[in-house]
């Protein structure tokens, strides 16, 4: 029963449904970038990349890259009409100053308090933080997309993060491969789960207690590759 889960594309699709038309959005590098592909018809978000572009579009064809036109993940992008360039101080004024409507990030762990750990798996290797610690502050809504459990089956939604924190009390919604969960008043509030999954089964894969306010929707997504 628990072998059924959403693909990354499906998690990204679900997250994309909550982005309003005209929203200013920052997508973390890697998996979260996929959210841009699934904007509902008729809605157009404006994507911000912290290296200094507003309203960029998808990657150009191979061979047509302009390496001064890249996103935070250093991948080549294109421009949409109405785009703008700006320096890093202005870019992070947008982030820190509360001008982004949504930031969608990946996670190693999310705690029921909204604490996020997504930048370091511990003292080994070379530490690197980038803009993660800035992004978790300032965006009006900070959401996480993630597998519900780690590759070796450990919960990622926890009572308390054991990995180094990216930010304190910053996440308000988590889209996982099994459920959609809000963080409210220091609790995980289950909003949607896969229809094939019982609450008990989901709870067994979650370190902290899942609360409901009575109604839990079915997490329904289209068939998608990726």
């Amino acid at each position: 029963m628990t072998s059924e889960k959403l693909s990354n594309a499906q998690i990204a699709w679900r997250a994309a449904q909550d982005i309003a038309d005209g929203a200013y959005v920052n997508l973390g590098i890697g998996f979260p970038e996929m959210v841009a592909q699934y904007q509902p018809p008729g809605r157009q978000a404006i994507f911000h990349t912290e290296n200094g572009i507003l309203d960029f579009g998808p990657a150009p064809k191979a061979g047509e890259e302009d390496w001064d036109l890249i996103n935070a993940g250093k991948k080549a992008v294109t421009l949409k009409p109405g785009s703008a360039f700006f320096d890093h101080a202005t870019s992070f004024a947008m982030v820190r100053g509360g001008h982004l409507d949504v930031a969608i990030l990946g996670a190693y762990q999310v705690a029921q308090s909204g604490d996020l750990a997504n930048w370091s798996t511990g003292p080994k290797g070379v530490p690197a933080v980038g803009g993660a610690m800035d992004l978790v502050h300032g965006a009006k809504r900070v959401a996480v997309i993630t597998e519900h459990v780690t590759k070796d089956g450990k919960p990622k939604l926890v009572e308390r993060c054991t990995l180094p924190l990216t930010g304190v009390g910053c996440v308000t919604r988590v889209y996982t491969s099994l459920a959609v969960i809000d963080i409210d008043g220091g609790k995980f509030m289950l909003r949607e789960k896969l229809g094939s999954m019982t609450l008990d089964a989901l709870q067994a894969l979650t370190d902290a207690k899942l609360h409901t306010d009575g109604t839990v929707g079915e997490l329904k997504v289209p068939a998608l590759g990726g």
Binding site: D55, P81, G82, A84, T90, M94, G97, H99
Partner: protein, 235 residues
């Protein structure tokens, strides 16, 4: 997405009694005369206004004060060629004044837009304007702590704007506009020319659209200095 508002009246209709309003411009340069006059027509009371100055003559900001809309002014230089409107009200105790050094005013507004709640500056250390403010020493030099400044609204005049809110400014009329758009919850901008997205090259954008909420086209806007030289009054 289209942030265009059809009329000045509609653009300022959201500004109610007691609101805080940043108004762009340095003297007449960059002063959004048409937006201010539309606000006078609406007639909110008890506004807190942030501007570098306190108006000149009987148009624009001076007229807004004269109309009795302004309870408090935060500015650096409340003097002008004809400052009678503000001066009379101030000396009669009818309007509150918070005097801020010009560079500190600009930096406080930028800080408000950039999510920086406080910063240290050498400006005003040891003067009357630093009274009551925390002081700290860095590298052996004393500095004054200043707080961010935010507002509910900004009224700003730009040159070209696109429907996403990207802006350019004319000459030195740029002054406070880019900062006030950043620091206000709702930045209302009048532009001399409205264009479609793509009508401003991305390298030429001075204020990115993310900082702008409403945009209204006002071709051939009035210049405060010209109005005052002609002895104009509003309304």
């Amino acid at each position: 997405m289209n942030k265009t508002i059809a009329s000045l009246a509609e653009a300022v209709s959201v500004i109610g009694d007691g609101a805080s309003v940043m108004i762009g411009g340095f003297g007449g340069s960059g002063s959004p005369i048409e937006l201010i006059h539309a606000l006078i027509d609406k007639g909110p009371k008890g506004l807190t206004v942030v501007n570098n100055n306190a108006g000149n003559g009987h148009v624009g900001l001076a007229a807004l004060i004269e109309a009795g809309c302004v309870a408090k002014l935060i500015c650096s230089f409340p003097r002008s060629a004809d400052p009678v409107v503000f001066t009379e009200r101030y000396l009669a105790g009818k309007i509150e004044l918070e005097l801020v050094p010009q560079g500190t005013l600009a930096e406080r507004i930028r800080a408000g837009g950039a999510g920086i709640p406080a910063f240290y500056t050498p400006t005003s250390y040891g003067t009357d304007l630093a009274k009551g403010k925390p002081v700290a020493e860095f590298d052996g030099r004393p500095y004054v702590q200043e707080r961010w400044l935010k507002a509910d609204f900004a009224l700003v005049k730009a040159e070209i704007g696109d429907t996403h809110g990207n802006l350019t400014y004319r000459a030195a009329a740029r002054n406070f506009g880019p900062l006030m758009c950043m620091a206000s919850a709702t930045a209302i901008v009048q532009v001399s020319k409205l264009v479609e997205p793509g009508g401003i090259a991305p390298e030429s954008v001075v204020t990115p659209g993310i900082f702008v909420q409403k945009i209204v086209e006002v071709p051939n806007p009035a210049q405060e200095e010209d109005l005052n030289r002609a002895g104009a009054r509003y309304p």
